[in-house]
C-alpha cells in the first residue's frame, strides 16, 4: 500500500469510523459481555451484546485501541445487530478467513470490503481481526454448550 492509498483510506473511512464509532459506550447490563484483547499491542475492548431468542438485539462496545481496531469493532457492532447467533458465527468465520488472503471474499457490504482491503496493510491484520475472533469464538462456545 502506498502512502497516498493509506492516507485516502484513513481519511475517508478509518478516521471517521473511529472518531464516531457506532454504539461506543459501556452497557454493563447486557447479558453477554465479551472481551477482545490483543496482547501484543494492548488493545482491549468489551463487547456488550443483548441476546434473546438466539438473536443479537443490540451490540455496544467500549475500550482502548487503535483507529483500525476501533473502526473494525464499530463495523462489527453495526453488522451483528439483528442477526441470529449462527449468522454471526458464519459471518465471523467468513470474514476472518477472507483476511488470510487465500479464501476469496465476496461480501456485498462496502464497510467489510474496506476492512478486508486493510489486510494488505502490513502488520495490522490483528487490529482488524481481534474483535471478530473474540465474538466468533465466544458464540461458538455458546452454541456447543
Amino acid at each position: 500500500m502506498t502512502k497516498e492509498e493509506l492516507e485516502i483510506l484513513y481519511k475517508s473511512k478509518i478516521i471517521p469510523a473511529s472518531k464516531e464509532p457506532y454504539h461506543f459506550e459501556k452497557h454493563a447490563q447486557a447479558n453477554t459481555v465479551i472481551e477482545a484483547y490483543n496482547p501484543i499491542c494492548g488493545d482491549k475492548y468489551q463487547l456488550y451484546l443483548d441476546m434473546s431468542e438466539g438473536v443479537v438485539q443490540s451490540a455496544y462496545f467500549h475500550g482502548f485501541g487503535c483507529a483500525i481496531s476501533k473502526a473494525s469493532t464499530s463495523i462489527l457492532a453495526r453488522k451483528v445487530e439483528g442477526k441470529r447467533l449462527e449468522e454471526v458465527v458464519a459471518l465471523g468465520d467468513t470474514f476472518i478467513a477472507s483476511l488470510t488472503g487465500i479464501t476469496p471474499m465476496d461480501f456485498d457490504d462496502e464497510c467489510l470490503k474496506i476492512l478486508n482491503e486493510l489486510k494488505n496493510f502490513d502488520g495490522r491484520v490483528d487490529c482488524i481481526k481481534s474483535s471478530w475472533e473474540a465474538i466468533t469464538h465466544h458464540l461458538k462456545e455458546e452454541q456447543w454448550k
Partner: protein, 368 residues
C-alpha cells in the same frame, strides 16, 4: 559479523566437543575462545563463569529454575521492579507463586526513576534475590546498579542484572561491577538472533544446576545414574547455536574496536536531542523524565493511537516499536494502554530525529 558467520557456515561448519577431525576441533577451539573473549569483555579472566544461552529470557529462566528454585522457601521473597521486561518479571512471579513466596515490586517515582527508598524498605532477611534491569526498555531509565548491588550485598543478597539494553553501551562499566548474575542477548549488540549469555559470579558457580539434560553436559552415564559436568558445561546440553556464538565473538570484536566514550556520548546526545525535539510539539507527550536516560524514548501522540502512528511513520521509512513493549505492569502503573518507542544505536543521527519530528507533525495535521 556477517562475514564471520558466513565463513563458518560455508567453510568451517562442524559440531563442537564431538569429532576428532580437524574441522570439529577447530570449531571447538573457536567456540571456547569466544567464551574467553566474552569473559574478558565482562572484566574477568575466568571463562568458566560464562554460559552460552538463547538469550536474556533463557538466561533469567535458568537462574530462576536452576539456582533459585533450589533455595527459595515459603515466606521468602524476590525483589524486582515495575519497569522490568516480562523476561525479568514473569520468571519471578511464577517461581514465587509455586513456592508460596512473595514477589516484591519496587515502584518508580513520577519521573520514571526507580524509588530507591522503597527498594531499601523492601529488602529484608527473607529476600533471596534482587532482579533488576540496567536500562529500562520502555522508559530508557538508567538504573543506579552499583548502589543497588551495594545495598543488597550489605545483606548478602545476590543481584541479577538484565543487561539486554545496556550491553552495547560498553561505557556503562558493566565489567567493573560485582553483580551475581548477568543476562543479555546477542541481537542487542550486533550479534545474531538466538544467542545470549548468562554470566555467574564465581561464588555461585556450584549452585547453578542442570535444567536440561542430554548429550554434551555429562561426566559419566551408567544405567543407574549420571554425573554432570560443572558450570557452564552443565547447562549446554545438546547441540549449541555455534554460528550464533561465532557471530557473537565478531560482534564483541567490533564493539571493542569502538571508542567507549564516543559511543556513550553519541547515544546520550541523540536521546537528549530526541526528548528536546519531541517536547517542542504540544501534541507529543514524552513518557517520563528520569535523571539518567539512554538510547530509548517512549511517547504518545494526543488522540492518535500508537499503532496508527507507527504505521504512518513506517510509510516514511521510520521504524519504531508501538505497543506495550513486553512491560505491561509498567504501562498499567502509568495508566497507559500503549506507547511509541524510538530507540537509537551508533548508526543513528540527529537528522533521523528531525525526520521523526517532521513525520509526526505531518501526521498530526493530517489527523485533525
Amino acid at each position: 559479523m556477517i562475514e564471520a558467520v558466513t565463513r563458518f557456515d560455508s567453510f568451517e561448519n562442524a559440531n563442537i566437543h564431538r569429532g576428532l577431525y580437524d574441522l570439529s576441533s577447530t570449531a571447538t577451539k573457536r567456540y571456547e575462545q569466544i567464551r574467553t573473549k566474552v569473559a574478558h569483555f565482562l572484566g574477568t579472566e575466568n571463562s568458566n563463569t560464562v554460559a552460552f544461552t538463547k538469550g536474556t529470557t533463557e538466561s533469567i529462566n535458568i537462574v530462576a529454575q536452576s539456582y533459585l528454585s533450589k533455595k527459595i522457601m515459603p515466606g521468602d521473597n524476590v525483589i524486582t521492579t515495575i519497569m522490568e521486561h516480562h523476561a525479568n518479571f514473569i520468571p519471578w512471579q511464577v517461581l514465587t507463586q509455586t513456592h508460596h513466596a512473595e514477589l516484591r515490586i519496587v515502584p518508580i517515582d513520577p519521573h520514571g526513576n526507580l524509588d530507591m527508598n522503597k527498594l531499601r524498605a523492601l529488602i529484608d532477611s527473607k529476600t533471596k534475590l534482587v532482579a533488576i534491569n540496567h536500562i529500562s526498555n520502555t522508559l530508557g531509565t538508567v538504573n543506579p546498579i552499583e548502589d543497588i548491588i551495594a545495598m543488597a550485598h550489605k545483606k548478602n543478597i545476590p543481584v541479577l542484572i538484565d543487561a539486554a539494553q545496556s550491553i552495547s553501551h560498553c561505557a556503562l562499566s558493566l565489567d567493573q561491577m560485582e553483580y551475581d548474575f548477568l543476562a543479555f542477548s546477542g541481537h542487542k549488540m550486533f550479534a545474531p538472533f538466538g544467542v545470549g549469555i548468562l554470566q555467574v559470579a564465581e561464588k555461585h558457580l556450584g549452585e547453578v544446576l542442570p535444567y536440561n539434560v542430554g548429550g554434551g553436559m555429562i561426566r559419566e552415564v551408567t544405567n543407574e545414574r549420571t554425573t554432570f559436568r560443572d558450570f557452564p558445561f552443565n547447562l549446554e546440553a545438546g547441540t549449541a547455536n555455534i554460528s550464533g556464538v561465532i557471530g557473537l565473538g565478531a560482534a564483541i570484536d567490533y564493539i571493542g574496536s569502538l571508542d567507549k566514550t564516543d559511543v556513550s556520548n553519541h547515544i546520550r546526545d541523540l536521546t537528549d536531542y530526541c526528548v528536546a525535539t519531541l517536547n517542542t510539539v504540544p501534541e507529543i507527550n514524552v513518557v517520563g523524565s528520569p535523571s539518567g536516560r539512554s538510547g530509548i524514548v517512549s511517547f504518545t501522540v494526543t488522540d492518535i493511537h500508537p499503532h496508527d502512528v507507527a504505521s504512518f511513520l513506517n510509510q516514511d521509512q521510520i521504524a519504531v516499536r508501538a505497543g506495550t513493549h513486553c512491560t505491561q505492569p509498567l504501562l498499567a502503573s502509568l495508566g497507559l494502554g500503549a506507547t511509541i518507542r524510538a530507540s537509537f544505536s551508533i548508526y543513528n543521527t540527529r537528522d533521523d530525529i528531525d525526520q521523526l519530528k517532521a513525520s509526526l507533525i505531518a501526521l498530526i495535521k493530517f489527523w485533525s
